[in-house]
């Protein structure tokens, strides 16, 4: 069976170049970067070369890049590492759970939070951030691109607010990396977290930009790795893989690959919207959509449940997502869509399509040959009349 993978916002496969770049660091160059000897120096060199690539990726100094285990660790570090009892932080209700759960945990340690809601189009307005500032506010944490809708936040505007009010600003850039250029200087943020596996790098590796002078405490303590900002023997192969993936991501942004990806996404979207009873979540009455990452669209389908559609499409070889999975793997309606004001029925009738930069016209054609029939079959067999779903 042909398989099409439209769930890039969940994860992506390693590109062959990434695998090749990593390969030597598992066997030949296996040294511990903290060791004095030659094998150790080889590992150290690989890490520092990778750091230089990431510095270019963020547009920062090499010393401002810390390697870690990925997006969740970056998000957790930003919150746990900066805030103290009595502090207040501002974030949004559409963040990843790595931020939301960290904020709720801090609340048990006398650290307050405000979750700012987005507009119906998914955008967090700078005014809403400004309104949430209190005398004890220390940190603003906002995602760059949303995982469910792809909507890109006005981080430069928020950066200005942070600068004017003297607040720290962390950006969860996990879903932005590779899809839009990142320039931490221009944004004016203090922290920026990314994850390798969303950009065709390995799982379990990530990086956080920490602006020089930011008093960030390490979440993980132990040895003096990463300039005492992240203990633990470096995942050398992972770091090399992240750097190669970041390098390829910068190429893709420069050579038009991402622009082509946006056109493919638009074609898929248009094909689906040709079905009756569909729409892009976050679009206003005139169909206008907030700026989005090139690869993502979030579409609702009247009178059906996305859970069944996800399964039906998967059995026909098309992998998409219909919300976030809870501990058991059961799907919960997306908290992002709910925060944008969608009711539960509509949030449950929504699917996220997120394309990889390697997606082809043939992939989109195949998906469009499957989706209409699956939607029609589902609507015929399992009509979801209002209220039957509790």
């Amino acid at each position: 069976m042909r398989r099409v993978y439209f769930d890039a916002n969940a994860t992506t496969p390693l590109l062959p170049e990434v695998v090749e770049a990593m390969r030597p660091y598992w066997i030949e160059h296996f040294g511990n970067a903290s060791s004095i000897h030659q094998p150790g120096q080889q590992a150290r060199k690989a890490i520092e070369q990778s750091r230089a690539v990431l510095a270019e990726f963020f547009n920062c100094h090499e010393a401002e890049v810390i390697f870690n285990s990925g997006g969740t660790e970056g998000d957790n570090t930003a919150l746990f590492g900066l805030l103290h009892p009595g502090d207040h932080m501002i974030t949004s209700s559409i963040e990843h759970s790595a931020v939301l759960a960290a904020a709720r945990k801090l609340a048990t340690h006398d650290i307050e939070y405000t979750f700012v809601d987005p507009e119906p189009n998914g955008l967090i307005t700078p005014e809403s951030i400004l309104r949430a500032i209190k005398p004890n506010t220390r940190l603003i944490s906002i995602m760059h691109a949303n995982n469910e809708t792809g909507v890109i936040q006005s981080v430069e505007e928020i950066g200005k607010i942070a600068a004017n009010t003297g607040l720290w600003f962390h950006i969860d850039g996990v879903q932005a990396a590779g899809k839009i250029p990142i320039d931490v200087k221009q944004i004016g943020c203090h922290l920026y977290s990314i994850s390798a596996h969303k950009v065709h790098g390995p799982k379990g590796t990530g990086a956080i930009f920490v602006k020089s002078g930011t008093p960030l405490e390490s979440l993980i303590v132990g040895g003096s790795h990463e300039r005492r900002r992240r203990a633990g023997t470096e995942n050398v192969a992972g770091i090399v893989g992240l750097a190669k993936a970041a390098e390829l991501a910068m190429h893709s942004l420069a050579d038009g690959t991402i622009d082509k990806l946006a056109k493919l996404r638009d074609r898929l979207e248009a094909g689906i919207l040709a079905l009756p009873g569909t729409g892009v979540n976050g679009a206003d009455a005139s169909g206008k959509i907030a700026p989005r990452a090139a690869n993502t669209t979030n579409i609702w389908f009247r009178d059906l449940e996305s859970e069944a559609l996800v399964i039906a499409l998967d059995l026909k070889g098309v992998a998409v997502s219909g919300g976030s999975a809870c501990h058991s793997g059961a799907v919960e309606p997306s908290h992002v869509l709910m925060a944008m004001g969608l009711d539960k029925t509509r949030a449950r009738a929504s699917l996220r399509f997120s394309l990889m930069k390697t997606a082809t016209e043939a992939d989109v054609d195949y998906a469009l040959s499957i989706i209409p029939e699956a939607v029609e079959h589902l609507r015929r067999l399992a009509p979801v009349a209002a209220g039957t779903r509790g």
């Binding site: 399964i311 039906a312 059995l315 399992a382």
Partner: protein, 370 residues
Amino acid sequence: MPTSPIAVAMSGGVDSSTVAALLAREGAPIVGLTLQLWDQTRLAGKHGIPEQPKAGRCCSIDDVYDARRVAEHLGIPYYVVNQQERFERDVVRPFVSEYLAGRTPIPCSLCNDHLKFDQLLTTARSIGAEKIATGHYAINEFDEARGRWILKRPVDRTKDQTYFLFGLTQQQLAHTLFPLGRMTKPAVRELARESGIASADKPDSQEICFIPGGDYKSFITAYLEEQNETLPDSAGELVSAGGAKLGAHEGIHGFTIGQRKGLGVSSPTPLYVIHIDPATHKVTLGADDELATLKLRANRLNWISIAELRAPMRVRAKIRHRHEPAWATLEPSGEGEVVATFDEPQRAVTPGQSAVFYEDDEVVGGGWIL
């Protein structure tokens, strides 16, 4: 897809796992589905409900994990379907309301009617599977002569689950397979072991799946508190059949017909709950022989081997899960009601339970005791 796959309802237990293994062995295309019905951590730690749910309760993380491992082992696609809201609406809510109304509910039958054989079948069909298979011990076959699907007691009488399946419609039976109906439990365990199913020796679940620890009174208190609802005050008197006051109680939901323990009344001879009056909150206690009843009335009927009950019929009636079906004459009685008159008086006929009527091994139909 060349042939329509069969959706196997997988709970993570040995029975449904073996069904999946059996069908996979026969080469049928199958898809494993687990219904996520209740979040076991929801009321954990409240009002004496255990902090850590035990395995073998519905939807504990361990059970979903087990089901997923079985599906991986068999190499079949597997999905968890979230039906928590419907379960709460159609099973948990009525369960609480029934107790508060002085009746003793059977959540398993409600779950079968609303979730397992309604929602699951709908989900299965919407993903392209025309039939579902479950690990229930029952036999389901089409009878050409009568033109009806017939539900029969299984070969392993100790595992008979037909009592909980009387609500299945002809349409549901037509799309359902019970592959274990002609197997004994030991044979199922043996087959599970042979198939390399890790849960082969997992103990059978016995209690109500969403009530860890089995303390339904604590569950009702904790659930209503979570819902910001107050437990209705149904405290009242404990009385004898003659009307004499024997004591006081804190709420009628704490009682079930036939209950002997926890009455808070001392008596030289054992006393049992023989009647619960939801209007006056009076709970009547009496001797064992006062529990016996000759007749029962039931409504919300479903017929399986017959289209309709038009004339009196000799049946054996089963009035609770562990009851040996007793001979009775079944008669229609007004709109959507039947009366069963037993040959011998039966102990503890309990409103809220179901009455299921059998003719030899066949389920004639059933209803809910009034």
